[in-house]
Amino acid sequence: MKEYLQVADIGKETDQLVTIEAADLMSLPPPYGDLSAEPPLRSLTEEQKKRLDASLDGFIAIGIPRPQTAEEEQALVTKFLAGVQRLFSKEDNWTFLQPLLHSLDYCVKCQICSDACPVFTATGGKEIYRPTFRPEVLRRIVRRYIKKEGSFVSFLHGNDVELNWRVVTRLAELAYRCTLCRRCAQLCPLGIDNALISREIRKVMSQELGLAPNELHESGTVKQLKTGSSTGITPKALGNIVEFMEDEIEEKTGRKIKIPVDKKGADVLLVHNAGEYMAWPENPEAFAIIFDAAGIDWTLSSELVGYDAVNYGIWYDDVQAARIAIRHAQAARDLGVKRISVGECGHAHKAIMVIADRVLTGDLNIPRESALPLLERLVLTKKLKLDPARNNFAVTLHDPCNMVRLMGIVEPQRRILRAICPQFREMEPHGIENYCCGGGSGFAITQSTTFPDWRSAVSGRMKLKQILEAFDRLDDPTDYKYVCAPCSNCKGQMWDLFTYFDVWERSGILYGGLVELIVSAMVDLKEPFIEWEFH
């Protein structure tokens, strides 16, 4: 039955506002079309339900403890309002005040953006996931409780959201049902950015109430600032990893490569998402092979934070984002490198190149660029000896939102693929109109309770559909296919997504980076660099 949820229902006294049924979900192409054959979405345990607030949709990204007393309930509301008030401060929120004001003031709720949202579409149009829903909740709260519009004006504007603790906890969770892909914003003719409002809500929750998913904050930015990396890799551990990679490169290629670390005055400081070292070391290894073969003057940093390009702060907290960006720049400054080059990580690109652009000043303002144009030059100017025939399998390209829609890096990776992959094909839509992998804005690393189910079945659904539609012979797992995803978080999401739907076993679809394909095409490698094993 079609639900008719109203904006004011966000504060409704009910155990759960919305339930996602398998039948609601967008169907996938054959042989994945049978919704009843999909893994069931797990429910929380009774203990979890009692302890944590899951009253939005039964899933939890943050895990806010249910308030136990009226005082605790009131404290949530009071702190939330104080935080919202600070959003309008030129000092506290100079960072995003202008875009926020515009998006709050001028949305006409025409809903043209709704169909652009992969989450809204994948759930068959669940109202809470409509891109305009959460901004409208915030807008009504602002008018009634911050601007304190009189009751008649308030009535005229339809400001009917009664602020209570449920609104706060649900809005906090709801801000983590948007991947911040900004597809909705791209379509808005008025320049309204609903994703920005999601991020501003996240910011209030983190910067005022101290509420954020553990994986983003405590095990994310806090850990990175303290130990050097959210993966837990310490500078000493990095040394061991580099040795391991050198050994593995020799084993795989017969080449003895010394990976430069802390080389003073190098031309390029290459920064990777440290997740690559842990989960996909073949990616930084491939970079090392390429840079070595091309004679690039480069280095890694072993400085705390400097060796992990991630910056989860950009998804939820301006302060944490600034802190990490500054540490990255300090590492580069101390080495005296000429430029920072970002490896295959979308959000790290945006964090250090775009977001940090108005944070870094003076000697921290070091030129920063994507590694993709450099790779493109090496491939297209024949600096490397490549044979496309070595990559004679079906390849499609995933466009990481941060790198493509939000930074305009669209063609270098395509020109590389066209040069080295004879069976390259686009998924639709692609480029700046791509769909998010479903793991954006921190979802790929959020492992809270049953959230991974939601991530795979809901937020990643559209991407899986796109991937499946890009290939033929989906029922033949021996016919290998490759999704090139030049982004660590997207790869993390694909690992989950492919595991959830058993994509490797059923269809032989593997995901991986761009540099692996370049090395795979190198003519003087005896063994194939890409190992057709799912990991």
Binding site: Y4, Q6, V7, R86, E91, D92, W94, T95, F96, L97, Q98, L101, H102, Y106, C107, K109, C110, Q111, I112, E127, T132, E136, F155, L156, H157, G158, Q186, L187, P189, L190, D193, Q207, L209, L211, N214, H217, E218, V222, L225, V319, A322, V354, I355, D357, R358, V359, T361, N365, P367, E369, P373, L374, V404, R405, L406, G408, I409, V410, E411, I432
Partner: protein
Amino acid sequence: MGIFLALITYFAYVFIIGMYTAKAVKFLKAPLHIRWDLYPVLHEEHHGYGGSYYEDEEWWTKKRRKHRMRGLLSLVADNFYLGDYFSRNRSYWLALYPWHLGFILIISFHICCFFAAVAMLLGLTIGPSVGGLGALFYYVILLTAVPSFILGSIGSMALLLKRSTDEALKRYAGPLNYFNYLFFLVVFLSGLYSWYFTDPTFSGYRQFWKALITLHQPHVEPATAAHILLFSLFLIYLPYTRSMHYISRFLAFFMIRWDDEPNTRGSALERKVSALLKAKVTWQAPHIQSGGTWAQVATEVPVRGQGEGKK
């Protein structure tokens, strides 16, 4: 009545210009923000596929050309076409487009009446058979006014219907949305009535403006007076609606979505950023040293027990 009509007309124009200017100034005075680009950025060379200068190796060494006029023209054109709605939601566009055309044309009509009055004061005769500029004014006024009343009325009714029956729109609408459609409908219908029953050549409007310019008491037919009054109220009311989006979208596109200006060392932009880093932070979460400046908070990471709390 004539004096009242004159005063409210003067006031309405001064008011709307003042209010729109104040809103634009408020937007412009907001501090520099963190970059929040969204592609395609139309002034970029590779805007066709959404490419940016980040596609170049060592982009900071390359000369950039910004084609700002391209973005401007695209936004202006879209104000008259509403292309995104046309391509993505045709049924909504069918209601929205006549409504918007109604607005554009009704404002054009009144502005044309003003200029026609100026021309008359300079000795020009306006009429269908006088030829030249006089005929041009006559027909332009006719062709802006009548279509505006018809299209505006159709659009108001269509949007009223659409907003009240389409669940996705209805759930987000407040009473003010419906009031707007009804009020604008009355404005357009009053114009239509006045034209059809009392002033088919719009000479009354031209005379009204002539009187306003020469500071004489205007005399118009009651139906025309009603439309002039309603149109003045419409102008006074517009700043309280989201109508500013005709203008604000230009600011938002140029200053937010397409603001890809890099912060280079030693630039004026860098100086602005440095100044903003001196702003005070009062956020209260445990991991933030409330009271410090942004520069302090961002560079002095608190250790556990000294401001860093558990989330």
